[in-house]
Symmetry: C2
Subunit: 461 residues, 2 copies
Amino acid sequence: MDNGSSAAIAQSLRQWLASAAPGRQLPSTRALVAEHQASPVTVQRALRSLTAEGLVESRPGVGSFVRAQRPLRTTDHGWQTAALHAPATRAPEVSVALRSAPNDMIALHTGFPDRSLLPERLVRVALTRAARGDGAVSRPPVAGLPELQAWFAEQAGASAGDVVVLPGSQSGLGTIFRSVVGAGGPVVMESPTYWGAIRAAAQAGLRVVPIPSGPGGPDPDDLDRALEESGARLFYAQPTWANPTGAQWSRERADAIGDVVRRHGAFLVEDDWAHELGMTAEPMPLVTRDQDGHVLYLRSLSKSVSPSLRVAAIVARGPVRARILADQSAEALYVSGLLQTAALDVVTQPGWPTHLRSLRHRLRDRRDLLVAALAHHVPTAHLTAVPTGGLNLWLQLPDGTDVTMLARDCEAHGVLVAPGHEWFPAEPTGAFLRLSFAGPDPDSFDHGAEVIGEALARASG
Amino acid sequence: MDNGSSAAIAQSLRQWLASAAPGRQLPSTRALVAEHQASPVTVQRALRSLTAEGLVESRPGVGSFVRAQRPLRTTDHGWQTAALHAPATRAPEVSVALRSAPNDMIALHTGFPDRSLLPERLVRVALTRAARGDGAVSRPPVAGLPELQAWFAEQAGASAGDVVVLPGSQSGLGTIFRSVVGAGGPVVMESPTYWGAIRAAAQAGLRVVPIPSGPGGPDPDDLDRALEESGARLFYAQPTWANPTGAQWSRERADAIGDVVRRHGAFLVEDDWAHELGMTAEPMPLVTRDQDGHVLYLRSLSKSVSPSLRVAAIVARGPVRARILADQSAEALYVSGLLQTAALDVVTQPGWPTHLRSLRHRLRDRRDLLVAALAHHVPTAHLTAVPTGGLNLWLQLPDGTDVTMLARDCEAHGVLVAPGHEWFPAEPTGAFLRLSFAGPDPDSFDHGAEVIGEALARASG
């Protein structure tokens, strides 16, 4: 089945339809087969897709016809303003990191690894196998498939019964913020930190208490003061290759922070988003040394396995796990058994460690290429650190640079970059760009850096 | 690949492992192949699963060994009590309707249709096809795949741009309650109504304002008063084969309720959960007659296509859609492209309407069988109505029956039933059971009804 070709036929027909009179008959399947050199199945797939879009009407045994378009409506939705009130939190637009980019743009903004970095064969085989198994038509337990729970537990040195499987880690953030803190309550976060966590906290109505975080992670004294002053019982952090800074906490730093958290009777959300994305260092999850349930460990497979396998888990010891499970069951009911089966299949294949070894090298090569290109073309910018894991660089630009304008200028020249302010829970402390070395084709890095350098020159010129 | 057989091998090895000393070598793959008459691939799959569970350790080139078990720990998690505070809402346990049942129980409690009622072949073919396509390794737009948006829009007489695709309709409930109402705000609901909606509202911190609802739906005057007195701007309802009552609103009732909603400048959440589950009537979604964005239309494919295809959508016209999309993007980021592709594939196949026609008859036959069995064995109970669609009956028992005790008695005799109180936002107005005719084998209906009748006799005896 050639999906690309069916999409191309649909696209070509859409153009034809744009100027065709309602009621007019479309070329026959046979004619379309000949015109596009495609199989009848592919042509029918394109026609079905146009039917689903309401552009074409199919009369069985007769053919396909241009559908009469509904007249355009203009409706006054003004009444909704009173019903909706003002949003509790500033309704955020969709994050820059989630933007889909046209093929001809250099997508340095993206938060997701390129398809060439995914274990594509393992994923397709696992999905095909899962499509034949029980998972395709049955409903798994609310907390997850026992075998997948056991796998996540093993990763964290915990028991399968401590695990709640999630439809992606973003959903886990919402669940933790709602169920452990609740609207109006405080949460301490590093600054800068993952935009998705800032957004989930805002959506749950939490008050974010930021503490500064550098290349070695946050200062335990800052955390101590923040917990003391705010009364917060939750600290959200990414100890391993933090997004966006790439920071990894040393063993000593991790222990010191663990002590502060314990002393305050607080929870640490350890968002281990980049566990499989090490380049020149190893992950050392804090959860494996947690004795008494202070660490809520969040682990996702969407970035390293495939964005289509939206499977993650929280490992939580003690009564907090019941609180988390209750929220997840109210929010999601359960996670697709098919996706759980396929995800477990991928990470238990012999090909998985092989893939991870190769990924390690490819990420490192990409990182080094982008670092070199930036050093060459953007000499006035400063990398706070060369990360030892993760997917991106955190580039500081000269003070006073208007990064929003700069990003717009870059986009006009075919390069997408992410202005750093989305990663700050409060006002940014400097002018930053987050640049992905895992998204775009490495061959485009040099030109991408050049465009950034030129835009920066214009901005300061 | 025979999954059943690999699960059986794992189960047999688990029993062996329970009494085996740590460090002892497992039988070789070859020996297991011979013993279980299975392929080496199947045996290796069983071993991988035990490895993932931490029971077995594999030493490449040597064999598999019984893993040393961690000593059991008892940990004092008492500190979490102070950190968690009391829950904002009574933390609900997992609903009865979600309980997985052992194979030898008669599962009249379940909220999900039996596998034999699903379009299993269409689902497997669609998933296999999707495993080969782009959706397996790419990330779709936040609001959903355009073709799937178009399909949902077509169902509601709306535009593709009005649609937000969701990872299941339960997630949509949370999103609507959080983003349209917000913690502390009121929402009007039918009573009884879907337990998942009651739970999602509680989790979002909403105040539920119940109005009574009978076999014809709620009284528009009751709704008028409830909106007036509470100031609520949101009414959640299931106008088509409500869960649990089976009620379908007449055209006149729907118009009268629509008028009340409009007059109050309020939204109606139309949860069209049973759209494909009609037996002797047709669905008539209110959204198709909504002119100015008062209806938030919720439609899921998990019940009719497969529980593994967690795909649903909200159709919302006007600014409210931006509010909904912002919450979904903070909660879920996006919905698996693989599941979206496969779901669209199923519902655009010629086999889909054929399946729905056959489903219609099979549901009706099952319904009639269970109705007859109850009339015979539980003559003192009363069906408020014989539903024309949906998956269950709503059985009223004599006043004063302790349904919790009754359910426990039935369970002891091999029959699972759902006590009605989970479907009431407040105190139940009578003694009810919700009984699924779509879950268990119809051959068991007679015995199931007999057990209920005997338990009822004991309860009142």
